[in-house]
């Protein structure tokens, strides 16, 4: 069955979009990540213009984040003050992101830029996750062995120490933090930029950053991050609708419906798999997507020419 997308002005297979929503929903239920990093490339693969894929995806993330955050909200696992401060940076990041997106579009490099960013982000995160999960797996086996990670004090450690010296310290009572306001603002800013340029919530990047750089308690991170993502993606969505008219409500509805059902299946399936094993799967999946995208950038394409119609 086909449905006509009024904003994209094209007809698309309902089954394909519902299946995509289902898969992404499954991932979010199973791993607790948004799964936006799969939606945008796949929509582009189905022939949806990148601008509409990104713009629409942001509104789908609003829905999935709302569904996700409500459980955390009930358990009081949302730190509103941290989320609010992050949001300040997030809104600013969204605006800059939409602007960069428009500029890249005009330059005709949006496809390459989106792919490069994905390869960089997914490649880095995937590799780090894989190293971390397999390392902890090995550690469990050989308890007497010294971990190799302790050899380097590392750039990350130094960055963390540096951030502790930043001015304008603020207390965050719920998370029991006393930290410079620029740290959460900076993390939020990056999240907002990712939301508008890539059409992703950026949870896979924000969650480790909040644990590592902010030092938030792990129980509060997921809820706070999701809460913050609702607003950055919502804001990015309104920005894309206003500045570029690239939010297709019919496409968004289909993605949301598929996502809701998929998330339920994902949550149920996750009960049968241990957390550490799930993290290895996720790392492999993220790396896989980044490798496919990297291959597209590195291998000579079959069709050297591409077409853009300016209406």
């Amino acid at each position: 069955m086909h449905v006509y997308l009024p904003i994209a002005e094209m007809s698309i297979s309902v089954e394909a979009i519902l299946t995509l929503g289902l898969c992404v929903g499954f991932l979010s239920g199973f791993f607790g990540v948004g799964g936006g990093f799969l939606t945008t490339p796949f929509l582009m693969f189905l022939g949806v213009p990148p601008a509409i894929a990104v713009g629409t995806q942001t509104s789908q993330l609003v829905a999935s984040s709302v569904t996700g955050v409500l459980g955390h909200w009930k358990n009081k696992n949302v730190d509103l003050k941290v989320a609010g401060v992050m949001l300040g940076g997030g809104v600013f990041g969204s605006i800059i992101g939409v602007f960069i997106f428009k500029m890249l579009q005009a330059l005709g490099q949006i496809d390459v830029a989106i792919r490069l960013l994905y390869v960089f982000l997914l490649g880095t995160i995937g590799t780090l996750m894989l190293i971390e999960t397999t390392a902890s797996y090995w550690k469990k086996k050989k308890t007497g062995d010294n971990a190799a990670g302790e050899e380097k004090p590392g750039l990350m450690e130094r960055m963390k120490a540096e951030m502790r010296k930043w001015p304008y310290k603020v207390r965050f009572p719920v998370s029991k933090l006393h930290i410079s306001v620029f740290v959460p603002v900076g993390i939020g800013f990056i999240g907002g930029m990712l939301a508008s340029i890539l059409g992703i919530g950026g949870g896979f990047l924000l969650v480790p950053a909040m644990i590592y750089f902010l030092g938030m308690p792990a129980t509060l991170v997921a809820g706070t991050c999701l809460f913050q993502i609702i607003f950055t993606t919502g804001f990015a969505s309104i920005m894309h609708a206003t500045a570029n008219q690239t939010v297709d409500v019919v496409l968004a509805s289909l993605l949301i419906i598929g996502g809701v059902v998929g998330a339920q299946i994902g949550v149920r399936a996750s009960r049968y798999v241990s957390g550490s094993r799930a993290r290895i799967f996720l790392a492999v999946l993220i790396l896989g997507v980044s490798l496919v995208l990297a291959a597209q950038l590195l291998m000579a394409p079959k069709e050297l020419y591409s077409m853009e119609v300016r209406l």
Binding site: Y4, P6, S64, D111, Q296, Y305, M307, V309, L311
Partner: protein, 251 residues
Amino acid sequence: MMRLRQIFMMLVMLMAFMPSAFAQGFGDKLVLALADEYVDITTNFSGREVVVFGINETGGDLAVTLTGPRVYTIIRKKGQALGIWANVRAVGFGNVPLYYDYAVNRNVTSLSSSENLQRDGLGINAMKYEARARLAENEARPFHEALIRHKQQKNFFSYAPKSIDYTGGKLFKVVFKLPPDVPTGEYVVKAMAYKGGEKISEEKAYLQIRQVGFSAQLYRYAHEHSFLYGLGVVFFAVFFGYGAHALLSRR
């Protein structure tokens, strides 16, 4: 229902034009009509046929074209930059129709000279667009070829001409098939008659392809009240997300 309408159209045309044609004697008359002047795109639109009727009293060879709105179209070429494949060159073409299809009953090139065909916009190869860059002929050609290739792959340009159906002597019928993602706008249907390599008659009709109903309202709203539209989509998403949670946590 379509069939009935087609027969009705033919009868109407026969009655309307044949007596006058007989009265005047066989002139160089070309008559053109569309079964529908509008193609309405609704949410369940999945392509449509455009039926063109006409009478060719010229005795010449007939050609019918269907041309969509003309827009600026950019062709980009990828090349290796710092090891990755990125767009390195772009050539813009003016006046490229969003959609193009045509019908003839004999080889296009045998109808007229290539200059004439180019002037009349008849045939895929006859179409020349102005490249908005100072390029040598042999430099522009691969971009021009890529443009046609892309259009054909999207089914926006035809691979082969349709045929013209002569149903009753001088009465003809052409059926164009619009794909599901056909671009919207004003389309021109042009019938041309050729004799001895020259165009002897031409007739035009216009076809509106447009979104109607819910789909059109959404499109208009998204463009005219884009902020409210964006806000609406976000509220809808929040509502849906909340509803999903409420529905699922009950179990």
